[in-house]
Amino acid sequence: MARAQNDYDDIPGTFVFDAERSRQGYGINMFCMSLMKDDNRKAFRANEAEYLKKFKLTPEQTEAILKRDYNRMLELGGNIYFTAKLGATDGHSFRHLAAVMTGSTQDDYAKMMLDGGRSVEGNRSRSGKGAIGSALGEQGRPKAAKKAAKAKPAKSKGVKSKAAKAAKSKSKAKR
């Protein structure tokens, strides 16, 4: 089933955990939650595929979990605070998982953070329509620019979904 388009789908590299993903990913998140108990962690480690059968998961979700494809888990309805419990079971911190999700090495990611993090410039919008800056950052801007900024998002629907499609096929290519 196609996912309804939302304004926030225009944010690059981001899977917003919304009501639709929460519905879809209930099994992933409940599986992750089960890993809070040591007995369950042991059972999972002993036979991962067998353990996963206890949860309502689609074949894609099961595959993403077994492959530790964290971005795919998010795309299929996992939430980072839950999938981080799978990461913790493997002995990994949030920062480790973040580096994995960005496709960086641990060292490069740590260095990027120490250098002030990933810049928002160039990372605001897939379509380019949202790359306007925030109401907070706009304080010094002339009124005309503000008006233009306000008018833009309403027109960008078609462009957004195209951009989202392009991004989807990209992420498929990666896999």
Partner: protein, 302 residues
């Protein structure tokens, strides 16, 4: 009469808790973070609140996806630290203030904020990390705590405006409580960070600085920030900053910024911290001068 005297905002990065628990606070990476809270601890020790209302979010500890309350007020007598997968944090059990919590719940629900009442709840790093940052690591916490858990995990969280208005309703509730209590409100989480997806690591110092500035100057402006803008500008998880607006709404319109600290990074996150005080209208003569002196000492680092 009870009164809200000040608001504190602070990030609640889990790695900060881990650094405390693993005794790494003197390591250069962490010292940079912890040194920013030394003056805050002094301020807190002087302020000595009778109760702290701590606005925070649960991170799949007390609430899984089985139920997701938007606003959940902790009305229990105590709140044990949650086991987040590595055993509970070695911090004291938090004592609640069930009487004031019950009073607040009744007052704000009649003000049309439909809270979830929680009489049994474990609290995770979202609450315990800011407690450590402001109170240190004592054998017992110096004051009771009323936790207010806000959903910022499942989209959409409550709007910033809604949060601000809830803060106002909480202020009204506190001010109608008959016992003479000084209350401090914590807003926690943030600042800019994204820990999920290929855009993880996003930090926006410009946004954070403007947010801190406006918290004192023009909080109404902050209530107009849309969720899309938080996520785009401050990262998917930066949306936690709506919780700071509950704290701000609970304060008077005019406040004094007593202290501020900002550093990047702690793990994946920009650490932001601010202390705001209501102007002391009720304090007279000696007490007022003493309060002003202590504020100045904190500012100067005395």
């Amino acid at each position: 009469m009870a009164r809200i005297i000040a608001g504190v905002a602070s990030s609640h990065v889990p790695a900060i808790g881990a650094a405390i628990d693993n005794k790494q606070t003197e390591e250069p990476y962490w010292k940079r973070v912890f040194s920013g809270f030394e003056k805050s601890k002094e301020w807190m020790a002087k302020t000595k609140p009778d109760v702290a209302i701590v606005v925070y979010n649960d991170h799949a500890s007390a609430f899984s996806v089985e139920f997701v309350p938007t606003f959940a007020l902790g009305c229990a007598a105590e709140f044990p630290p949650a086991d987040e997968g590595w055993g509970p944090r070695p911090v004291p059990v938090l004592k609640g203030h069930p009487e004031l919590a019950a009073h607040i719940s009744q007052s704000v629900i009649l003000d049309e904020f439909d809270l979830t009442i929680v009489n049994k709840m474990e609290v995770d790093h979202g609450l315990t990390v800011p407690m450590n940052l402001l109170f240190g690591s004592p054998a017992e916490w110096p004051c009771p705590v009323i936790p207010l858990a806000v959903n910022v995990v499942l989209y959409p969280p409550p709007t910033g405006h809604r949060c601000f208005m809830l803060g106002r309703a909480i202020r009204k509730a506190v001010e109608s409580y008959p016992e003479d209590l000084n209350v401090v409100v914590f807003g926690t989480g943030g600042m800019s960070h994204q820990i999920s997806g290929p855009r993880a690591g996003l930090i926006n110092k410009k946004f954070d600085t403007a947010f801190l500035d406006n918290l004192t100057k023009d909080p109404k402006k902050l209530t107009r920030i849309k969720h899309l803008e938080y996520m785009r500008e401050a990262g998917a998880e930066g949306i936690e900053m709506v919780m700071w607006l509950i704290m701000r709404g609970a304060l008077d319109d005019k406040v004094d910024e007593v202290y501020r600290f900002y550093t990047v990074p702690a793990s994946n996150t920009a650490v932001g911290h601010i202390i705001l005080e209501n102007r002391k209208k009720a304090a007279k003569g000696k007490a007022k001068r003493a309060a002003a002196r202590s504020r100045q000492e904190v500012r100067r680092g005395g």
